[in-house]
């Protein structure tokens, strides 16, 4: 081969294969289930990167370390990455996960389990089943893996509500204190009024890129509300082609077609940014939205709208749960389990609510949070929504299935045109095929 051709070949190859270099795998070391004697000693943990959760994490770790000199916990925020799930998945492959991650997305658990990255809590710890079901009740069953065991402990629930900007609503001639956003028609009418008055650039502006996780910020919460809590996939079949699903799809298609929403990427924080910056009049968020929006916009919250209008105490919503995973690379699993129970005891669960505004996934939230809710009335509707909050389904290959849906969304909904039944019927067939 001539020198030039060799250079070309080498350069062209280098240009493309380097992404693969980051994807190495090894085949030595520990195993998925710890089994045998469980060791105690120092452990590492990761928690979320948001300011409030870091504050909570630091105070819990400080309290634990004060009483456990031989089982010190070292904590840090999840290392930077495109998403927590990508970072954890890569870390599992590398064998350098911490013992506990206090931000494990339920949607990612089947994949982590398949990688052998998670400890089976049900079979590893004698008291795991009792502890987890005692704390979270039947909610724990929603997080069981296909084998019926628990590889995650349900930790916190962030029921989504519809935030609206009172100043924008007032400027559009709408009632800022009683905005009447019960039905899809109500929302579309409000959006039209906002557009006509030029009170905001958009009525609602969820993340617009084709990333599959964005399904949780537009279609899925509204679909859950409209369908009475039907999960995206049930019994291996896609559910979004039901009448309720098509109503929700049509609602969003109208929002895009009328210019009430934007299909363009937002320059900035695409989740909270458009509402916090006053660009959008409405936005969906969990109770964490308060910390994001305080001091930026004058807002109120209402339950998610449905096609026909549903009473607040019957309106399902997206739980956006984050759980705790105990990872198989952990050497001192007994300490990890003990710390996990300590971090989710009554005192620390209440601290979680007080510091972060997020609700622990437990059966006695009304009792635990009673005093807190008296002093923080804003969180009352979120507390009421906790029992109606539904998560993503715990199924294999969920990311691929959600991406199929997202591609159809980009095609037929964000474009503002397209045959919803045909496009999403095809997507449902593809998803069903992946399940089988």
């Amino acid at each position: 081969m001539r020198r030039g051709a060799r250079m070309t070949a080498l350069a062209a190859t280098a240009a493309v294969v380097l992404p693969l270099a980051a994807c190495g795998s090894g085949d030595d070391g520990g195993s998925g289930d710890s089994g045998g004697d469980l060791a105690s000693g120092p452990i590492d943990i990761w928690y979320s990167t948001n300011e409030q959760e870091i504050a909570w994490g630091e105070q819990v770790v400080e309290a634990w370390n004060a009483d456990h000199p031989d089982e010190q916990v070292t904590a840090q925020a999840i290392p930077a990455g495109s998403s927590s799930e990508d970072v954890i998945a890569a870390s599992i492959t590398a064998g350098n996960t911490p013992c506990l991650v206090f931000n494990t997305a339920p949607a990612a658990v089947p994949a982590f389990q398949k990688q052998g990255g998670l400890v089976n809590l049900s079979t590893t710890f004698d008291d795991a089943e009792d502890y987890i079901t005692g704390r979270s009740g039947s909610a724990a069953d929603g997080f069981r893996s296909a084998d019926g065991d628990l590889y995650q402990i349900p930790w916190k629930t962030n029921p989504f509500m519809l935030y609206y900007n009172k100043d924008v609503f007032a400027a559009a001639g709408l009632d800022a204190e009683d905005p009447q956003l019960e039905t899809y028609d109500d929302v579309l009418a409000a959006a039209q009024a906002i557009k006509d008055a030029g009170a905001a650039d958009f009525a609602i502006y969820p993340p617009a890129t084709a990333d599959y996780t964005n399904v949780n910020f537009d279609f899925y919460p509204f679909f859950l509300a409209n369908s009475g809590g039907t999960q995206f996939i049930e019994d291996g079949k896609a559910t979004f082609t039901s009448d309720e699903g098509l109503e929700t799809l049509e609602f969003w298609q109208t929002l895009y077609a009328e210019g009430f929403s934007s299909a363009e990427a937002y320059s900035g924080d695409m989740w909270a940014g458009p509402f916090a910056d006053g660009v959008a009049a409405m936005g969906v968020a969990g109770p964490w939205g308060k910390a994001q929006f305080d001091g930026k916009v004058n807002y109120g919250v209402v339950p998610l709208p449905t096609a026909a209008g549903t009473a607040a105490d019957e309106t399902s919503t997206f739980a956006d749960s984050k759980n705790i995973g105990l990872y198989s690379s952990c050497k001192n699993q007994q300490t990890a389990w003990d710390f996990l129970k300590f971090a989710t005891n009554d005192e620390n669960d209440l601290a979680l609510l007080e510091v972060t505004g997020q609700f622990p996934t437990r059966t006695d939230v009304p009792e635990l949070a009673a005093d807190f809710l008296v002093d923080n009335a804003f969180f009352e509707p979120f507390a009421a929504a906790v029992p109606l909050a539904v998560d993503v389904p715990t199924v294999d290959g969920l990311a691929e299935k959600m991406q199929v849906f997202r591609d159809a969304w980009s095609d037929a909904v964000q474009s503002g045109s397209g045959d919803l039944e045909a496009t999403f019927g095809e997507a449902a067939t593809t998803i069903d095929g992946l399940s089988s």
């Binding site: 051709a5 190859t13 240009a15 493309v16 693969l20 190495g24 070391g29 998945a89 991406q403």
Partner: protein
Amino acid sequence: MTTLHDEDVRSPARATATRGPRQGRPDPRGRRLQRWLGEHPLGLLLSTPYAAFVVVVFLVPFGFGVWMSFHDFFFTAPGVQVPHPFVGLENFRQVLADPVVRQAFGNLLVFGLINIPLTVVLGLLLSSGLDAVVHWKGFFRVSYYIPYVTASVATLAVWIFMFNGGGVVNKLLGGLAPEPTWLANPSLIMPLIAVYVTWKNLGFYVLLYLAALQNVPKELHEAAEMDGAGTWRRFRTVTLPAVRPVTSLVVLLCIITTGQIFTEPYLLTGGGPNGASMTPALLMYQKGIQQGQPDIAAAIGLILVIAVMAVSLASRRLTERKG
């Protein structure tokens, strides 16, 4: 022609052999060592770290990627034993049957058809202009180079501001603004990304061309001028042939860049709208990292390697052909 003196200089071992006590019988051990280590063993030592780097960071992962593409593979925690059966061309069959993959490669074609000619033409024009400029040379060079060294996240944020529905570009265009607007328009998003990448990398290519232009002997231009050649003719018959090797390099680098396009669609659109900005590299990320199918991602990568190599070789034949 080799002289005895030359041989002595080049081969001390052999020279010693002819002068030593066992004349006519060279030391076979020394010759073997020299054959293995070459004439400058120190060079071998100095190049070893880089060679090791290439093997560890490039060749091993590449080989592993090729292996993955022929097996049913997913990433596991260390020590987890799962079978990775050989599946032959099944991953490739799946990849080639996937319309999303075909669309991603089609998008790359659109990107390359815009980016490569635009880079060559603008690079040549701007470097010729810079070569002719007398004052503010440094300022212009830095100005062109700044986008190249600025993080894509920052420059893309600026482009989103410029090209979103209410952005400055649409305001300038007024009634001529496209509908749907740039970032949500399936027909415009890939050309827009191609123009963005051209703008961002142009400073680097301008410097390459500038270096080549400054090496063109002034006598050639003077001779052509004396023969009556005008500006355009001098550019065509003197400058262009003189910078042909750089043009070949620029085209090659642009082809490689085309194969790597990831950050722009990832940040701007996530591959949308409707797959119009999906690229093989972004698809590899989705399949390999997000969806836990590194075997499929590796198959896409291998096809991409072959495509980039084929186009690179074709481009070199084209750009290095004597006019």
